[in-house]
Amino acid sequence: MVDAAAIDRPLRDFNPWPAVIVVCLVCLAVLFLAPTLGVLLSSVKTTRDIAFGELWTIPDTLFLGNFGEVIANPAVHRYILNTILVTVPATAASIALGVFAGYVFSKLPFRGSDVLFLILVSGMFFPPQVILIPLFRLFNTMGLIDTLWPIIIVHTALGIPICTLLMRNFFATVPNALREAAILEGANEWQVLMRVALPLSLPAIAVLATLQFTWIWNDFLWPLIFTNSDEKRTIMIGIVNLKGQYSVAWGVQGALSLIASIPTLIVFLFFQRYFIKGMTMGAVKG
């Protein structure tokens, strides 16, 4: 009797929710991975194969001509260089400003600093469409249209709220006693930040570096608005520019798309051990 009850119990206690969640997650994963798979497949096929509608089939032979064409194209080199020239300074500047602001809001609060912090963070909630025309007019007046400067400046500015928010919350978890101990040892605020607080906030900086780099590298909108000539285009606009007048070179675009995603992949892989730690930080005190 006892054994029978023990055998019955698992059936009675069956909880369908984990299975439902797994099925939903698998569906979502397929939905998200399908375009990547499409790009991957198109990049290793000839334009002829794709034109025959064989996009989703596994090719018999790998055609690497698309990659060769992309790598040999001097315009692509320029796109990549422009994107690096935008992404690296904008990422570094937004993180640096976020670190300074976050440190002040967390460790050196002043009268009205909480309100200022809220105003700063509320900058995250402005949709780009709202500020698009004023910014265009502003940079046009300054004579900066069709240069990389507006893209760098806008991405730096748009990155400040999230960088400040994350860094302030991270610095709040660094005990005040560490700052006080360093000050008693003779450190000034700059030395406290650089020698104590910053080395402890590598997880937060890794998260920000990954997010900012990916977001700026993949951005399509701002380079489209602020640049006109092919010499100033970034890689995401470049992918679109690779289409012909009467046809779309799917294979070449697919190859460039994959090449364009390599830097973000490298950044993520480089920072991932910090990234996971950073995503869970602050959840548990200690």
Partner: protein, 357 residues
């Protein structure tokens, strides 16, 4: 001479007056313990001395120099924090040498002084480790090492042992006492643990509500407390307090104990509203010699002595008595207890002591 002097020091946080006109002086080489209940302002006073908090009023002198407006690092003080405050990303060696590196001393000099501090604290083997690889006691030693390497005029300890377990606390307490003897430096030590205060201090400063209640040697405070607060705070178990009946017989103190009362013949101080008596000054007696009967509620056998928690018959007033463990007492038993009348403390309505037993 690295003496410390506070002149009318005060501090206010918003509407709350945390430190209230404190005057105090510590001599060179003295070990002074600030003791008081949680929130009494003892840690704030320490932070005012370090300069981590700005004073609201008054002046602070270290080694004769006015340091009131000076930067913390220029005051010649070093502090050991309750949480150790070791830099987690640095090795023990880097933690100890942090201040010297900031001061841009030559590497050889830093290495020599770190090694010397490590030798004094017996942590030579730990220099390459990170703080997370250390036990609580080892971390505490590193924190002390960081403070002694700078050769400060005044050492400040902010409840440094409160995160350690009981056994380690006793051990570290001894080590701090040895360190004081060895360095001969002025040390200010904050604690709420009055056992630490009694065992370490040359002098104890009892603080309550931002004011100094009494300053004196541990034995002086124990035997001759200035008021009821100090009497209750110094000594473990605490002193017993019993209210005095207003209208008692002449030449006699009548103690109120619920519906019962205790008459202490030939023992009276005018104006007393309460008496205090330490647990060791209550003793067991026969029915004739005893001042009052009481019921044994709980007995704590500590080995060398026993603490007996008594209750007056007819009241819920608790009393603690320290006895020899040889007395064969058991809970629920009725015993007769006698006051050592020479050791009774009398307090007036404001809690001020009226006699010097």
């Amino acid at each position: 001479m690295a003496d410390l002097r506070l002149e009318n020091v005060s501090k206010r946080f918003g509407d709350v007056q945390v430190i209230n006109g404190v005057d105090f002086a510590a001599k060179h080489g003295e070990f002074v313990v600030f003791v008081g209940p949680s929130g009494c302002g003892k840690s704030t006073l320490l932070r005012l001395i370090t300069g981590l908090e700005e004073t609201g009023g008054g002046r602070i002198f270290i080694g004769g120099a006015d340091v009131t407006g000076m930067k913390p690092s220029k005051r010649g003080v070093a502090m050991v924090f309750q949480s150790y405050a070791l830099f987690p990303h640095m090795t023990v060696e880097d933690n100890i040498g942090f201040g010297l590196r900031l001061a841009k001393l030559p590497k050889e000099e830093i290495g020599r002084r770190v090694a010397e501090a490590a030798r004094i604290l017996q942590i030579e083997d730990l220099l390459e480790r990170k703080p997370r690889q250390l036990s609580g006691g080892q971390r505490q030693r590193v924190a002390i090492g960081r403070s002694i390497i700078r050769d400060p005029k005044v050492f400040l300890f902010d409840e440094p042992l409160s995160n350690l377990d009981a056994a380690l606390r006793v051990q570290m307490r001894l080590e701090i006492a040895r360190l004081h003897k060895r360095l001969g430096a002025t040390m200010i030590y904050v604690t709420h643990d009055q056992t630490e205060a009694m065992t370490l201090a040359d002098r104890i400063v009892v603080i309550n509500r931002g004011r100094i209640e009494q300053v004196g040697s541990p034995i002086d405070l124990y035997d001759h407390p200035a008021n009821r607060f100090v009497s209750g705070f110094i000594g473990s178990p605490a002193m017993n307090f019993i209210d005095v009946n207003e209208h008692g017989p002449e030449n006699c103190t009548s103690l109120g104990a619920g519906s019962a009362s205790i008459e202490l013949d030939g023992c009276q101080v005018a104006g007393a509203t309460a008496i205090g008596i330490r647990p060791e000054h209550l003793e067991l007696a026969g029915p004739e010699e005893g001042d009052f009967p009481a019921t044994v509620e709980i007995i704590e056998k500590l080995g060398a002595e026993s603490l007996v928690y008594l209750q007056f018959d007819g009241s819920d007033l608790p009393l603690t008595m320290r006895t020899s463990p040889e007395h064969p007492l058991c809970a629920g038993e009725t015993v007769h207890v006698r006051f050592n009348k020479d050791r009774i403390h009398f307090f007036d309505r404001d809690g001020k002591i009226l006699n010097r037993p």
